[in-house]
Symmetry: C2
Subunit: 193 residues, 2 copies
Amino acid sequence: MNLDPAELRVLDAAKSCCERWGLAKVTIEDIAHAAGVSRATLYRMFPGGKDVLFEALRVRELEDFFTRLSAHLDGAGDFEDLLVRCVMHATHELRSDQHLSLMLASEPGDTLGQLTVDGLPRIIRVATVFLAPLVDGYLPRREGARLVELLSRLVISYFLAPSEHVDLGEPDSARTFIQTFVLPAFQPSLTRS
Amino acid sequence: MNLDPAELRVLDAAKSCCERWGLAKVTIEDIAHAAGVSRATLYRMFPGGKDVLFEALRVRELEDFFTRLSAHLDGAGDFEDLLVRCVMHATHELRSDQHLSLMLASEPGDTLGQLTVDGLPRIIRVATVFLAPLVDGYLPRREGARLVELLSRLVISYFLAPSEHVDLGEPDSARTFIQTFVLPAFQPSLTRS
DNA sequence: TGACAATGAGACAAGAAGTGTCTTAGCGTC
DNA sequence: GACGCTAAGACACTTCTTGTCTCATTGTCA
């Protein structure tokens, strides 16, 4: 996707500047300086400036997230196991994401928007692209998309506001949850167990 | 000195804003908001704005520093012991100062200026005010001032650029250093050991 | 060597943000 | 009810930031 190493440097710089000062305080100049490129070059790479740059950063972060997640799902045995691993590792990723927690602390409004209102459709879209192949063997394409969307919403919700009854980071709790609230809805559509 | 609790709140807010964003990124508005006062009140407390406020913050930090340092020097036995404790605890304070290390990382230029060029005379002045009483019993006032100045310069220099040969944070090293390079210069003026 | 693309440096205008001062209205205290 | 203190916000002013430009420099190919 992004082959240019200079572009990767700029995205890394944007990320670290963001962690250091928060989205609101970072300037294009800060990022250009941190990346060791001139402001002109940065505008050449990301025509449109700050918005486009941070949009690209969010896309990359999201794809990295699901790349790591997919890697964790490779050895899943059956459908249930796949879903349990999925929500567990997604939850763990979210909880251990340094960048995310910094952003949530310094710019709660914008960050929450990216996880719930504005950004959620894209999250679901990317999640579908990455996870659909994995559920393809078990569900028809359309049902798979519905499932991925449901899981995305649930994982994010339980991450943002932990529950007393459910901990999607715990194997037993995650399994019970999947068995109780998720599988029954998709049982009729299952093409194999 | 600063009796008004609101002023202390503002200084604390300025400090924490500074740690979070760095001196360059902080606005008066940030500080006022963090302190829970209006911008108008802040200007009333510190007429002159940002410069005066941060000047006041530096003065307070400096006085706190030497207040803590003085507390560590109370039980000193003799003159040599006093000086050894002094450089040791000053070195420890500097090394463990979270705020200082953040400032050194984010604004090396300004921070170094405050420790060396612009700020050093004040540091020496405050150091003299706080430490002169402690060396008064051993040296004439004028010699005491010379000593405090010398020690201030040395502690800061060894803090900023650690030496291979001397570690003023280590008891033995500090003692040897004091015995070798400091005491001889003031031996002739000693009014008692 | 001479085109070529990519870059850094910096000028520039437009807009946004921050600053410092001021007025006004609200609050509790005496 | 006068007093002092404050939050809120209007204000003109300055500084910073942005996005676009041009131009000189660099390294790469032919």
